[in-house]
Structures are given as C-alpha cells and as structure tokens.
C-alpha cells in the first residue's frame, strides 16, 4: 500500500477509536502517546481503559493513551512512524510475547517490565474437563481463553510441545472477556478446556472448590514474562519524560488502579536477566 494511503487509513482508523460513541474527548494537540497492544488479554474494555488512562495522563501533561485491538492496525501505525522517521514522544505498552516478535522488525527497546507482588513472571495453566485426561484427547475440542486466537494457539504449542502442533490446529478457540469466564465455561460444559493464569485457577479453586475439583490440570507453562514498556532505540527527551510518568504510576493511587486494570501492580526497570529472557 502506498505510504500516503496508509497514513490516511491510519488517521481514519484512529478517528474511529477516538470518536466512537461514549468515548473520550480527544486531547487536542497531544503529541505524547502511550500505545497499547496486548493480545494476551481479551481487552474488550477499551472504552474504559482509554477513558481512565486519558483522565490520568492528561492530569499530568499533554499525554494520550492509544489502545489497539488489531495487530494489523498497530503495526501499520508503527510502520508509518518508521517510514516517516518521525521523532514522536511515544512509549509502547506491549505483551512480552508480542514484543519478542516485534523487535525482529522494529528498533524498540524494553525499558520497564510489569510486576505482580514483585514478580515479573506468571505461569499459564491448561485445565480440562475430567474426561480429558491427556493432551491427545484434546483433538477437535473447544478451548476458552481470555487471550486472542494467535496468542492462545502459540502458548498452547509452547505448553503442549511442538509435536502437538497438529492437535492445536484442530482446536476451536473461544475468546472470552476474562479468566474466570474461561474456567466457568469448562465447569458448565460450554468448553472442554481453559487456558488461564495460574493465579486465576488458584483463586477460582478457593472460591468454588467443588467445581474446581472437576478439572484436570493438563499442562503448566514455564515462567512467562509480564507486559513490558518499550521505547524507540533512539528516544526523544519527551519520550524519556513520558517513560518517567509511566514508571511512577504505582506511587499514585489512581495510577496504581490503572495498573491493576492491566492486571499488574507495579513496574520494574528491566535488568540483564529479563533482557536475556526477552531475547529467548
């Protein structure tokens, strides 16, 4: 697609997000943007996320939160910035899983990583109905997950092993709004298995032990990194200022609440270990 048509396409698309009914006043002239793309969660709370983030960010400066729900739109946006060599003040809030793939094509650098109770990783669990006692029996079944299709299938391959790729291709994935929904769906026979975080599985077990006992744990992932905040490899001073705003979120009540909306409770400056994990 020609550069200019890409550009106008993006403008039109941004307009759709920003001017949708019930959404958000556009921050006029905001040129400091926090881009958000996270396929790990079925973020169907864009309206709420944008409204709450914009309120918070605009109280601190001329900042704007720009969430993306489709990878194509997000990457087109990045591509335009690259092609035009724009030196915008921008930070990128991304799932680590996606970031690992993205840096193969775009010169971004992860600066912060999300934390939950001081930890930078979490595990995913594949829980199934009791009749499904092995991964082989998953063939052609339904899986509920709060992540999008691509993410869910990729994590399932990681979890189940490369040799189960064929089984994964036969699965019907139903994206649901959150992990508890995914687990309840299995409990009620709407799906055969659910892919959730370890935390959700354990909280669900504590809330409803009876239903939880009817589930089999089929597989547990290795430690998976939480979302990261990335910046361009050659950041502007404005970008570094914006990064500081994001880094300080957990110190303010409203900022902490926003982090919790993303499923986090803090940020950590990325160290060598995390950098290594992000390259694996």
């Amino acid at each position: 697609m020609h550069f200019m048509s890409l550009f106008f396409f993006s403008i039109i698309w941004s307009g759709l997000i920003l001017l949708s009914p019930g959404l958000i006043t556009v921050a006029k002239g905001a040129d400091n943007e926090v881009y958000f793309y996270n396929p790990e969660s079925n973020v169907n709370n864009f309206t709420a996320l944008k409204r709450e983030f914009d309120r918070y960010l605009q109280s601190l400066g001329n900042y704007r939160f720009v969430p993306f729900n489709h990878i194509q739109f997000f990457e087109k946006h990045l591509q335009i910035d690259q092609t035009a060599k724009m030196h915008k003040n921008a930070v990128y809030l991304l799932s680590s899983w996606y970031y690992k793939n993205l840096i193969l094509h775009y010169p971004l650098h992860a600066a912060l990583i999300g934390t939950i109770k001081g930890k930078v990783t979490q595990k995913k669990i594949l829980s199934a109905q009791q009749t499904i006692s092995s991964l082989q029996l998953l063939q052609g079944t339904n899986i509920t997950s709060a992540g999008n299709q691509d993410y869910t299938k990729n994590i399932l391959i990681e979890l189940m092993g490369e040799d189960k790729r064929k089984i994964v291709s036969t699965l019907q994935i139903l994206s649901v709004p959150n992990d508890i929904d995914a687990l309840i769906a299995v409990g009620f026979g709407l799906s055969h298995a659910a892919l959730t975080t370890e935390y959700s599985r354990s909280i669900w077990a504590s809330i409803n032990p009876q239903l939880s006992q009817t589930l089999n744990t089929l597989a547990i992932s290795k430690d998976l990194l939480l979302p990261v905040v990335a910046i361009p490899e050659k950041p502007t001073s404005g970008t570094l200022e914006l990064l500081k705003v994001i880094e300080r979120m957990e110190q303010e009540k409203k900022g902490l609440m926003l982090l919790q909306m993303l499923g986090l409770d803090g940020w950590k400056v990325i160290g060598k270990n995390e950098q290594l994990m992000l390259k694996q």
Binding site: L174, P177, N178
Partner: protein, 298 residues
C-alpha cells in the same frame, strides 16, 4: 473471532445461512449480527434480513426464507424466532437474545444461547470482587421461585449465604425490603416483574439500600444510573462468538456441546466511589476483569 476449521465445508458447497434480525436498530442485536457475520464470512454464504422495519410484511419474510434456502437460520430476538419457526419445518434455528425465552416452545431443531448468565457465574464474580462478602439478599416473586432455590445451592458452593424474601403482593414489597436489608451485606437485584414493577419501586430499592449503606448488585447496565455498585451482564460479543461456533458445528453435523448454552462471557461494570463509600473490601486483581467504570452523574 473464533478459530474456524475452514476445511469443514467442501469448496464447491458453501452452506447458506440466513440471519433474521428482529430489529437492527437495537444496538446489541446489530452487534450480534455484525460479529456473527464476520466469523462466518468466507466459510458460508450469509444473507441478512432486518424484520424490524414496519414496511416488511410476513409474506416478504416467508418469501425470503423460501428463496434463500438456508441450511441454518440465526434468529436474533424473539420476533425473528417466532417467524422462522412459523415458516420452516426442518431448518435448524439458532435462537439468541430472546426475551422471556421460556414462554416459547422450542423444537428439536432449535439451538439456544440463553440471555442471562447462570447464578453461579454471578455469585463467583461477587466473591472474586469482594472476598469479604458473606450474606447476599434477593427479593423475588413467583416468577423466580425455581431460580431462587437453584441460586441458593449455587451460593453455598461459593461460600455465600443467600437470603431471600418472597414478594407475594405489591403491598408487601416495602415490608420485604425493610426486613431483608438489615440482615445482608449486599442486595442482588434480579430480573423480576413483581419486584421491579415500576421506576418508583426501583428507586425505592436503591434509596433504602443507600440509607443502610448496602451495595446493590444488578444484572443490567441500566441500573448504573440508579447507583448500582456492581453490574454483571452477559457479554454480547462473546454470545455472538458462541453462536458462530454453534453454527459451524450444526452445519458440519458435529454434535455441539449443548443445544442450550448459557452465555460464556460476562460484562462487568463497577462503581468505585460506591465501593469506597460502603467500605467494601475489593480484590484489586479483579480490576483487570472490569469492562466499564460507573461514575457519579454530575
């Protein structure tokens, strides 16, 4: 979108699907139509008919069903289902967003996605958001007697004590409310035609609950403006995705998991100011499941 095994259908035979929409002017109806269409496009031939317009006669609808020879009809809303049932014999009907669905006879060719979440889904969410919650109260009438006894056993499963007051006559509503509120930690508003008989009655519920600093949990976003603390409703987009998955299984002659399915996704709205005001213990990690924040109207 849902993951689809496109190889289910032969290239030279794309199944025909007709979407009958009771009213394309109702936002959630059109949302379902759009999402369903998106999931099926390329894998089936989809035709759509909005029967909400007063210009469209029953004859036209019958003609359309006859001409399009669908292998499946998605009926959005009760009007669409009743007409599709009237004009078809053996065509499978997938019924979604039915109002008072229990009043309609379902045929063995009918597949349904219920409009309301199960009590256990809602009760689980109550505990997920408010771990300190113990006693929840419900006002119900003869229309929800069965529902209440099911909900009571579900409540036990999640460690909640569900107290109920049966409202027999409109006159006993106020006494019922006054008797229930002091005994509970939160009031759970359910869809009941006797309890929610008028706007004034709804206002009274919220007013009295507020006086005693008791949060109200509701089932529809409409109660946000009345002062609901937590609203859990069925997520319409997820319902449409479920319908698409069911449609593929019906068309591929696969046995679907269940002919009647409850909604698999929840839409959650919370009012943080109310939570603070009533000093409720909120699980901060539940915030990542919130779809909407209710703010005080200015």
């Amino acid at each position: 979108m849902i993951a689809i095994c496109s190889s289910s259908f032969a290239d030279d035979h794309l199944p025909r699907v007709l979407i009958l929409n009771s009213s394309a002017y109702i936002q959630k109806y059109s949302q379902v139509e759009e999402e369903f269409n998106l999931s099926l496009s390329g894998h089936t031939i989809v035709e759509e008919l909005n029967i909400g317009s007063k210009w469209i006669s029953e004859e036209k609808i019958e003609e359309k069903i006859y001409d399009s020879t669908p292998e499946l009809i998605l009926c959005i809303g009760s009007k669409a289902y009743l007409l599709a049932k009237k004009f078809t014999k053996n065509t499978p009907l997938l019924f979604i967003l039915g109002i008072h669905r229990n009043r309609f006879a379902l045929t063995d060719k009918t597949y349904v996605i219920e409009s309301e979440l199960s009590p256990v889904s809602q009760l689980t969410m109550f505990r997920f958001f408010f771990p300190g919650l113990i006693k929840v109260g419900v006002l119900y009438s003869k229309y929800n007697q069965q529902w209440f006894s099911r909900a009571q056993s579900s409540a036990k499963e999640v460690g909640i004590e569900l107290a109920g007051i049966y409202i027999g006559e409109t006159a006993s509503f106020r006494e019922g409310l006054e008797a229930l509120l002091p005994k509970i930690d939160a009031l759970w508003l359910i869809s009941d035609p006797i309890v929610l008989t008028s706007r004034e009655q709804v206002k009274a519920i919220f007013r009295e609950s507020h006086v005693l600093q008791k949060p109200v949990f509701a089932y529809d976003r409409i109660f946000g403006s009345f002062g609901a603390t937590l609203i859990i409703s069925a997520d319409v987009v997820t319902m449409a995705k479920q319908a698409s998955q069911m449609a593929f299984n019906i068309l591929a002659n696969k046995s679907t998991l269940q002919k009647k399915q409850i909604p698999a996704g929840s839409h959650i709205a919370i009012h943080l100011d109310k939570i603070k005001q009533y000093q409720l213990l909120l699980n901060p990690r539940a915030l990542s499941s919130v779809n909407e924040y209710i703010h005080n109207s200015k």
